[in-house]
Symmetry: C2
């Protein structure tokens, strides 16, 4: 199923049909341990930036499933690809990275449609993870995904459920200019 999800994700639109997405399944226990250590360091630093009730709540949040999820997927952007011949990214070069995010989004939806859960872990040191996985230097880490069947499902975002944040009405407002 992971292969099927990757095949579907590769159908995502990409700027100038550059297809810069590179998928890496992380199976090796030592490499996984390095990623978990990176998460723990980044998360300790993040916790230290909060005070009072925020710090208390933050320390109790579940922010990754690196130990629980059977599948780890690291998703990279091949910054040096010549595929697509640079079309569409001369004035907005970051659309190459955005193309990888589109692929992650398609993978995520395809996973959910099959009852599989995806968690995007961004509390990581990208250089450390890239080094631990021994991928080409030109590959930029875009997302690190924990993939597996969830113990429970809920339509409400977890951070809303626990009271970390509410709905921001600005995100649903359509301005007219």
């Amino acid at each position: 199923m992971v292969e099927e999800l990757v095949a579907l994700a590769s159908l995502a639109p990409s700027v100038g049909y550059s297809q810069p997405c590179r998928f890496v399944r992380v199976d090796d226990p030592e490499r996984r341990a390095s990623v978990i250590e990176s998460y723990q360091r980044a998360n300790r630093a993040a916790l230290a930036s909060y005070q009072g009730a925020d710090a208390d709540l933050y320390s109790r949040l579940k922010l990754a499933g690196l130990r629980e999820s059977p599948v780890h997927l690291a998703v990279f952007c091949d910054r040096t690809t010549s595929t697509g011949k640079g079309l569409g990214r001369q004035t907005m070069p970051q659309t190459l990275q955005y193309s990888v995010v589109m692929a992650i989004c398609i993978l995520w939806i395809a996973a959910r449609a099959r009852g599989v859960g995806v968690g995007w872990v961004s509390i990581l040191e990208p250089e450390m993870v890239t080094r631990a996985l021994e991928v080409p230097e030109s590959w930029e880490l875009i997302g690190y995904l924990c993939v597996g069947y969830p113990l429970s499902d809920d339509d409400k975002p977890a951070l809303m459920r626990v009271g970390w944040e509410k709905c921001d009405p600005r995100a649903t407002t359509l301005l007219v200019r």
Copy 2:
């Protein structure tokens, strides 16, 4: 329907539930004219970067539908939002912009499910577009979308159909580490 699509897009996952997406429908003819001028300038410069057969093919590509599409949607990232309290973006701050890309992806899929076409125009000068739309300076342009019912549908990416680029097998390969 545009309002419905924006409401669906706002359900996209966002880093730390930051919901940084800001949608602007561009209706004003003068503002649209400014965007079209920006596209023409950026596209002339892009064309000048190609030689020979590539230049010839590039000049015949349809790379935007700015005149044809009834709806223009500019999608911004509110870089200064405090929603989500910075959670998840201390080591990978670009996940704020990536959250907006996720919302664009959801909007795109929801549009296609309704028979509506979406074209992401990246051959634009982002500062010019931002200025023309008079949005807050802290808003960063992520995508400019041409939205409307397409004259025809095709499962094949247009750039593959016309021979600009082929399928890149690296985008479907799942490496194991």
